[in-house]
Structures are given as C-alpha cells and as structure tokens.
C-alpha cells in the first residue's frame, strides 16, 4: 500500500451512543482509507448500523469526533453528510425509495435539477429523465421506463436503483448497509460485482455491513469486528481466516492466544 492510498478519508474517534438505557456504541474508533472496501461485521445489535447511521448523519453521536479528510465535521442531518460526498444505501429499501413515485423522481430525490424560466425555478424534467436513462444503462441496469413507478420494480431492480442513485454524483464514501440481504443468490453476486467495479473504476471508498462472511471475504479489503457496542478487532482480509473473524464476533478465547486481542 503506497502513501496515496493511505489517506484517511473518514476518521471517527471515541464515538459513543445511547438509546435510552441501551448502550449502542461505547467509545469506538473507526476510519476509512481512500479507495478501499471495508466491511463491518458483528452480531445483531453489535453497533454496526448505529455507527454508519452516525456517519451518514441520520442521528448525532452522544460523544466523539468525526473527521473528514482531516477536518473535524458535525452532521446535523443526512444532507450535511451528503454534501461531503458520504452517501448511504440503507438496509431497508422501504426507508430509501418512494414506491408510488417514478424511477426518475427517486433517482433525483432531494437533488432535483431545476432550470430558470421567467425568474422562477422549474424542474428540468427532460434532463432528469435523460440522466436517469444514462446512469441506468451505464451500470447495465435494466429498468425499461424511467417514468414507471418504483413499486413495480423487483427487489434486485430496487437495490440497483438505490445504489445508482447513491453514486450518481459526488461520492467519496459509499455506505452499504446489508446490500444483499433481501436478494437471491444470483442478484447478490451481481450487486457485489457492481460494488467492486465501483471501487476500481471510480476510486471511491466503500463501507459495507454484512452478515455473510463468504461475501465479506470475497469483496472487502479490510474487516472491522464489532461486539456489544465495541470494536473488538480490525484485520486485513489477506492476513486473517474466517474462523478468527467468527471467534471475534462471538467473543471466544482462541483469539487471545493468537493475536493477543482483548475480547473479554
């Protein structure tokens, strides 16, 4: 790895978050390097989703700092994170797509293109339609009509649309929360290929949450393990085995012998 790639795009230090009495994150440090795919793994409720939601501005941390390209930032809403090019595809499609609206409307959700006419801003529908078609065909996604309603699309089409929207413009860090959990085997493979292609062709950093270790070892460069709201391990894929990761996830003792990791 050369210096160019060693740049930390995102650095989160000492992030904590409580929901009522439940401690979701306990002083977690996390960083994303340029042009890498980093996977977050851990059991349900380990804190992965909470961490990426903080990173994408859905809610603020109770304490801790976030740095973007070395500068401290605070996110008051997802819009703040989006401005910096941190884009998220949340796990639940029902939280990111509006099913009774058109494909184009979803593609440009929150970033509608307008043009001035008689001093007023009107939607530039032609541009948005053409741009939607361009992005979809560039990513080889077959959605026949940009003016069709998203509710009529299949699970794979919706997932692909969600990713296409996230990377349409100005993306530095792409966060994918369980991008394949709702998909079949073939559809999953295609989405993973899409993710790898994106990293290679666009040079962006990708944070991916997944339960599927097969998938993680297939796609990621680095793995970060969470357990009970804490980060318990951080390994390069090339230097770790699946068993070790599983052991970290469940908190077994064999790790202490191997890597001296304190997992309690």
């Amino acid at each position: 790895m050369n210096d160019e790639e060693n740049v930390k795009v995102v650095e989160m230090i000492g992030i904590s978050k409580k929901f009522g009495e439940v401690i979701a994150l306990r002083s977690v440090d996390f960083c994303v390097y340029k042009n890498e795919i980093v996977a977050l793994v851990g059991d349900n409720g380990a804190g992965k989703s909470t961490l990426v939601k903080i990173l994408s501005g859905v809610f603020p941390p109770d304490s801790g700092k976030i740095f973007f390209m070395g500068k401290e930032v605070t996110f008051r809403s997802p819009r703040d994170a989006m401005k910096l090019g941190i884009r998220t595809v949340h796990q639940k499609m029902e939280e990111i797509l509006a099913l009774n609206q058109t494909v184009t409307s979803n593609m440009f959700m929150g970033e509608e293109k307008t043009k001035k006419w008689l001093g007023f801003n009107f939607l530039d529908k032609k541009f948005m339609m053409r741009e939607t078609q361009r992005v979809l065909s560039e990513m080889k996604i077959n959605i026949p009509l940009p003016q069709q309603l998203v509710g009529g699309l299949s699970g794979g089409q919706r997932q692909a649309l969600a990713i296409a929207r996230a990377i349409r413009q100005n993306v530095r860090v792409l966060i994918l929360d369980e991008p394949t959990s709702a998909l079949g085997v073939r559809e999953s493979r295609q989405v993973l290929k899409l993710i790898k292609d994106l990293r290679d062709s666009r040079g962006i950093s990708i944070v991916i949450i997944s339960h599927d270790l097969e998938e993680v070892f297939n796609v990621a460069d680095r793995i970060v393990v969470f357990r009970k709201g804490q980060k318990v391990g951080e390994k390069f894929v090339s230097s770790v085995s699946k068993d070790e990761i599983v052991a970290m996830i469940v908190g077994a003792d064999i790790i202490s012998e191997n890597g001296g990791m304190d997992v309690g």
Partner: protein, 331 residues
C-alpha cells in the same frame, strides 16, 4: 457478463404497459364519471343544461374548490387538516369585526390572510415540532378556533359589511363571477407548483415515504409546515370569499366544509396515505360533488340525501385507490 446482468433485471414488459393503461384509466376515472353525469343530466334533468345552471355549479364549487386545494396538499403529504372549516369561520368573523371598525378593506384582507397563514403554521408546528399526529393536532385547532369564533361574537352573525370587502366574494368581471376566476386560477397555480417545482416533488416524496425523504436530505419538517401554512392561507381566503358572497360573517360558517373538501379530494383519487393524486383529480371531485347536489336540487330531492350519495362515492373512490395500489405493485 453484460448480457447476464441486463437479463437479470428484466421485468415483464407487456404486463407493465397494460397495467399502466389501467392505472391511467383509474386516474382519470373521475372526469369520465363527470362526463357521464353531465350527459345524463342534460338529457333528463330539466334546467340542468342551461348556461345559467352551469355557472351555478361553478359558483357552488368555488369556495369548496379553494378549500379542497389546501386539503389536497395536506393529504399529499400524508397528513390531513381537520381545521379548515374552523379557520374559515374564525378568520371570517375577525375580518368582519375589523372591517366594522372602519379599517380599509385592503388592510382587513391582508390581516385575514396572514391570520390564516399563522393558524396553518400553528398546525404545522404541532404536527412536526411537537410531534402530535395530524388527527389530534388539527382536531384541537378545529374545536378551538370554532369555539373562539363563537365566543368573540357570542354566536351572533355580523351583517352589512363594506362593499369593497365583498367584491372578491360577490363581484363579477364582465359578467363572470370573480370567485370562479379565483378558484380556477388557484387550481392552475397550485397544479404547476405540484408538478413543475422542487417543492411539489418534495410534497409527493415526503407524503409517500417520510423516512426516505429525510434520508435523501429533504427537509420534511419544512415541507409539511409550509403545506399547512398554505392550507391555512387558502382556508382564510375561502372565509374572505364566503363573507363577501353572503355579506355576513357567522361563526357557524364552513361547518360542513371539512367533510366536503376531504371527500372531494378523495373522490377525485387523492390517496389518504399520501403521495398519490393531483389537483386535477381533486378539481374533478369538487365538480362532481357540485354537479350531483345540483341535480338532486333540481329534482327537488331533499339535500339530506346528497350526503348519502357522497358517502357512496367516497366508498367507490377508496376501493379504486386500493385497486390502483395493487396494480402498481410488483408480483
């Protein structure tokens, strides 16, 4: 590889086009029904086909129409506004009292409009910032403003208002009633806002999926509060027109407005669940309701039955909405 990828995402295309046609048909169903009613009416109902009667129908539609615009906007955001009739009455009474003191009408009108906007703003704040649900929030303001209007004038009606205050509600330009022009103008204006502006898009998206809208960086609070401000403003405007039309202000004005406006929107095809529908459909609902009560009227049927007919239409509209939602879903 490319081939494989595109096959994967292929939908059943023929199916899709056929469904789109059915959905389009349901979308414009209301105007087909109006066409049928007008045709039947002109043939069988004495006096229905005359231009004077046509003018009557539009006149009857104008205040209801303006209220329906506001109600439709709130329905599209996935909320509703129960307080429109009460805002109409309260603003009407306050406006009449101000005018009686001798304040110039233009200033009275401005005060009334801003009062309505403020009342809508309060609804918006209660819903988005205090986080009450729309039913409770607007039920509170509905009851509150109505009673306040009663209290201010102790249930009495105020008569004999300045001529120029009444112009918008009862005047005409070249024989054409001003209020009809205003109603149609507002429909065109808000239709453009809904279909051609970013704000309009955000109304649909926020109503369809609030969480998705928020995650995509749309300021849902701002959109919804602004929509309630518009609803309040339009209600106030309706109050102004009603006061002008009747040359009087009573705290009981607009008691039926809420039900009428809401059913007009829903009969037209605006969904209660938000994000589906448009103002042309809502205008269709308004005109259909007016045409039907006009026909019943000409037949000498008791007006009580009009509400029953409306209830049946409402049921049909809701069932059609369900059917449409099924047709647009992937299977």
């Amino acid at each position: 590889m490319e081939k494989e990828f595109s096959n994967l995402y292929e939908a059943k295309d023929d199916h899709l086009y056929r469904r789109r046609k059915i959905v389009l048909l349901i979308d414009w169903f209301i105007w087909i029904v109006i066409g049928i009613f007008i045709l039947l009416g002109s043939m069988f109902v004495p006096g229905f086909g005359s231009i004077a009667n046509f003018r009557n129908v539009l006149l009857h539609s104008s205040i209801l129409g303006i209220l329906t615009i506001g109600e439709t906007l709130t329905l599209l955001t996935g909320n509703f506004d129960l307080s429109i009739g009460s805002v109409l009455a309260f603003v009407g009474v306050v406006g009449a009292l101000i005018a009686k003191v001798g304040v110039p009408s233009i200033i009275t009108i401005i005060i009334m409009i801003f009062l309505g906007a403020g009342m809508g703003f309060l609804n918006g704040l209660l819903i988005r910032k205090v986080k009450l649900n729309a039913f409770i929030a607007t039920l509170i303001t509905m009851l509150g403003w109505r009673r306040a209007a009663m209290g201010i004038v102790e249930g009495r009606t105020i008569w004999n208002l300045p001529k120029d205050l009444c112009f918008l509600g009862s005047g005409d330009i070249g024989g054409f009633p001003v209020q009809i022009i205003i109603m149609l103008g507002l429909f065109v204006f808000f239709h453009i806002v809904l279909t051609q502006t970013k704000f309009g898009r955000h109304i649909y998206i926020s109503g369809d999926n609030q969480q998705a809208a928020y995650n995509a960086g749309i300021d849902v609070d701002k959109v919804v509060i602004l929509v309630f401000v518009l609803s309040g403003t339009l209600s106030a405007f309706s109050g102004l027109l009603m006061v002008g039309r009747l040359d009087a202000a009573s705290p009981t004005f607009g008691s039926d407005s809420l039900f009428e406006a809401m059913s007009a929107g829903i009969i037209g095809g605006v969904s209660l669940q938000g994000g589906v529908g448009n103002l042309l459909m809502a205008l269709g609902g308004v005109i259909l309701l007016s045409v039907i009560s006009n026909m019943l009227n000409l037949y000498g049927v008791s007006p009580y039955w009009a509400t029953t007919v409306r209830a049946i239409l409402l049921l049909i509209a809701v069932l059609l909405d369900l059917l449409k939602r099924r047709l647009t879903r992937y299977e």
